[in-house]
Amino acid sequence: MSLNVEIVAPDRKVWSGEAKQLSARTVEGEIGILPGHSPMLAVLGNGEVHIDPVDGKRSTITIDGGFISVDKDQVRLVAERVDATALTA
């Protein structure tokens, strides 16, 4: 089982792919998401998000002003500013 992750910025879809796990910082604190997570919608704080893609090594992206939704292993990470050079490069 893996997470189906989509990272979306206002002007483009930044990245989409499979991931083993993901961790982000919400306004309340750090959360980690593994496959099978219950549906959730959280407001994210500005900062780093760590992603472990199924193939490839752990990458860190920086986001600004966004939220995350989790639903049946479908993860949508939406932010106004995304710096995902580590992931897409």
Binding site: P10, D11, R12, V27, I31, L41, S69, D71, V78
Partner: protein, 304 residues
Amino acid sequence: MAAQTRIYRQRIRSVQATKKITRAMELIAASRVVKARKRVEESTPYALALTRACSAVATNSNTDHPLTTERVDPKRAAVLICTSDRGLAGAYSVNAIKKAAELIERLNNEGKEVVAYLVGRKAVSYYRFRRRDFAKEWTGFTDGPDFEVAKEIGDELTAQFIAGSEEGGVDEVHIVYTRFVSMVTQEPQVVRLLPLEVVEGEIDTDGDGKPDSGPLPLYEFEPSADEVLDALLPKYVTARIYNALLQSAASELAARQRAMKSATDNAEDLIKTYTRLANQARQAEITQEISEIVGGASALADAS
């Protein structure tokens, strides 16, 4: 007579020069409209994700958010008019301004005072020339707007709306933009942006006009449903404005391409007409010369 031919030749040359320019503009607009359409498409995943999230929260929370509540007695309304920075795009800007004028008249009849917010130099010069007041202008980006501008406009309009008419703000926000239907059709459109109407429960993510099957999952909200809504709605407003700006940009370029195409066609027609006239004048000149020579020769023959 020779003067007549020269004038025609001059005109042909000048029309040819104009044709080169309009032809170049047509090609430039044609290549940029493709890019602009792509940008509209690329912005949809973000808009969809936001719409989905907003309706999920709206379904789960019962509290009325200030951004979604209708004001009891609306007194002032803001109208955001999206036009172009540059001309030579046919009736593009005029159509948007006309549509806005209709809307403003309607709002005035309903007893609301209208505050205008302008996007694009064409709207600004229209208002300046008629010495009408407007609250704010944004110019210099209409053929390729970026998200930062949309955010700036969104923040301004949301702040005005939150303030309400009692404190110098507004009770309603409308937006006039040009929807890109196809390369040949662009429609000026009026949308009420605030107060928002969030459709609960049903969402149509694949754009086939029917809602997706199955109810929304029961989300857990962090920190709480209300706070999530607080964070999402302004973003939603901004995304709507961004989409309107992008569509306007695509429409502007398509309108310009069409206008320049008909200008080029016109120039070709003109060149054809002038060439015919010039040939006629040249022929007349030759005929005249011949008859003068013949006349002169026969006069000489008669004299001797």
